[in-house]
Symmetry: C2
Subunit: 325 residues, 2 copies
DNA sequence: CCGCTCTCTGAAACCGGTTCCCCGGATGTA
DNA sequence: TACATCCGGGGAACCGGTTTCAGAGAGCGG
């Protein structure tokens, strides 16, 4: 494996000049620049990232912590993050926290050692832990806001509002909300937005939960819905799938007896029976934006602002006018 | 941030001794070891990974290349890989190839620069490219075999055999196979195993495809099934979901008119209508095994063998006896 | 024609660990 | 008591880049 010294020798210049020719081209003459470049790719020179990291203090690695990958929500997020990282010649260091706050904190610390900064999707961590982490190294939060820490959020309130409006327009006046995990920031915001919207339209909102965002919890929720609800909004896709399962078992028809709408989207929703009305978030864009903003932060530019991305409402067959029974 | 030199000074020993006390404890006296350790955690010493990597040539990073994360198959794979990496104090450098052979090769090269070795799930790359890559640095293939390159495979033949046997035992004699992407190694193996099994039982096997493993391709496949087939096996979950959708649109009932079974599993399969009989692979274990074997390979131990992991058959409602119509 | 400034290049220091080589002292053996 | 051996520890080289600092040479004005 060729080193910079080899390249320098081959090009007949010093290590210093070779380094400059490759990383700060504007600092050397056109002629030397070409000489060095030619030598470099003749020898197949690949700069040693560790050596570079040692002096510059930049590893070119970006930590990405997600609560899970099982939720299809995160696949486009990672993809977007990767694309943005690639543009900057950086790599993604990934870790799955399994929605465990302690684990999340531990991973953040460990990743922080090696990465230039960390992008965290941290629905469960405490504000204090996240603040502390942000103080130690560049951090971008995704789908979460903590004080003035830099963040990229999918606008859950806006989404909940659109979802609520959709159901209210159909004529529903008795809504239920199957809420997400205790302490989830975005769940709290959605609930507030729904309540606000329902109240404005003179409708009632019954909240179930908080519940763990799992299939089984969804099944169980089916039996605990208030009898007079004509429409139910669900925190996320797993709960929704479980709820559908439970409703089917209980013999309740969707949307004839009950309309169902989900707070996030899932490809599989197009093929469940019936297809589920859901919010679709620009998740890939969120991943890319988070990484770009993180890189800005590492570079010294970049502000402590929150970027909001708005969802789209995908209306499918699971919602309809109430009382068709 | 404290350096090794700081620790050494605080402990009243040389850098050399401090280094040894922390990384090769058996080389120093009990007393010095304790002195150094005490100083280290008093100062909150974190060894600089880049500096260490520079001399040792080991970065503690493991590349992981997957074709996609959208397929839920890969979520447990990553989780298993991460667990194994964590045990060895290593981190996962992830990249999504989007099932593009060129991109895959490029990513492998780029990751290889920084990682000690690479775990690749490479359904589409050419044998030659993979061989070439393996020659440059440690490589473990997952769900793919190329000559004698080290690999961890989910036993597709064994799985296909079990699936075929299940349908044959139910009494089916006219089977169809909706095959996967062209050139996919595991698809080829499955097809061969199915053909062999069908032939042995005196049944007929009609093969559709190759097809891209997408939802839409599955829908299209529904119209092209041979009229006399009573059971259909499908390469993977997306094709299966699409197929179910297409069959419903065409008014064919599952399993009354047609039994459907999938070659890989998906949590969502338990809640489709009907729940789908499928193969369930120990994917998390595969991820962990791949990383452990890769680390062995980096350490010089580790052989060029293939580890096979057998699938389990999950019988659900989508398969039944033929001709119930 | 001299001297000053400006630009490009090279020598060497440096980042923070690991490891080679050697030395001093303790131990064992004759 | 004398000498070989073994062991823990220290000094310094080293990994492969980047950056500082100073010097050489060219261009310009006076």
């Amino acid at each position: 494996m060729a080193t910079l010294a080899d390249v320098a020798r081959a090009a007949g210049v010093s290590k210093a000049t070779a380094s400059r020719a490759l990383t700060r081209p504007e600092m050397v003459t056109e002629a030397t620049r070409e000489k060095v470049r030619a030598a470099a790719d003749r020898l197949g020179f690949q700069p040693n990232r560790s050596a570079r990291a040692l002096t510059t203090g930049r590893t070119g690695l970006i930590g990405l912590i997600v609560p899970t990958l099982a939720n299809p929500f995160f696949s486009p997020l990672v993809l977007g993050a990767q694309r943005a990282a690639e543009e900057a010649d950086a790599h993604l260091l990934i870790s799955v926290s399994e929605a465990d706050a302690d684990r999340e904190a531990a991973l953040a610390a460990r990743l922080g050692e090696q990465a230039d900064g960390v992008v965290m999707v941290a629905p469960v961590g405490t504000d204090a832990a996240l603040r502390e982490h942000a103080r130690q190294r560049p951090l971008i939060l995704v789908d979460r806001r903590v004080g003035r820490l830099p963040a990229v959020v999918l606008d859950a309130e806006e989404g909940a509002t659109r979802l609520a409006d959709h159901l209210l327009e159909l004529g529903h006046r008795d809504l239920a909300y199957v809420s997400g995990p205790p302490g989830s920031w975005s769940d709290t915001r959605r609930r507030a937005a729904l309540a606000e919207r329902a109240a404005a339209a003179g409708a009632r909102l019954h909240v179930l939960g908080p519940l763990p965002p799992t299939f089984d919890a969804g099944i169980a929720a089916a039996d605990r819905l208030p009898a007079d609800a004509t429409a139910v909004l669900v925190y996320n896709s797993y709960l929704t799938l479980g709820l559908l399962h439970g409703l089917r078992a209980a013999g309740r028809r969707v949307p004839d007896d009950l309309s169902v709408a989900a707070g996030d989207d899932l490809t599989a929703f197009a093929v469940t029976d019936p297809p589920v009305t859901a919010l679709s978030f620009p998740v890939e864009e969120a991943g890319a934006t988070a990484v770009r903003r993180l890189l800005d932060l590492c570079g010294g530019t970049g502000a402590r602002t929150t970027t909001r991305l708005a969802p789209r409402l995908e209306v499918r067959a699971s919602t309809g006018v109430p009382g068709r029974r």
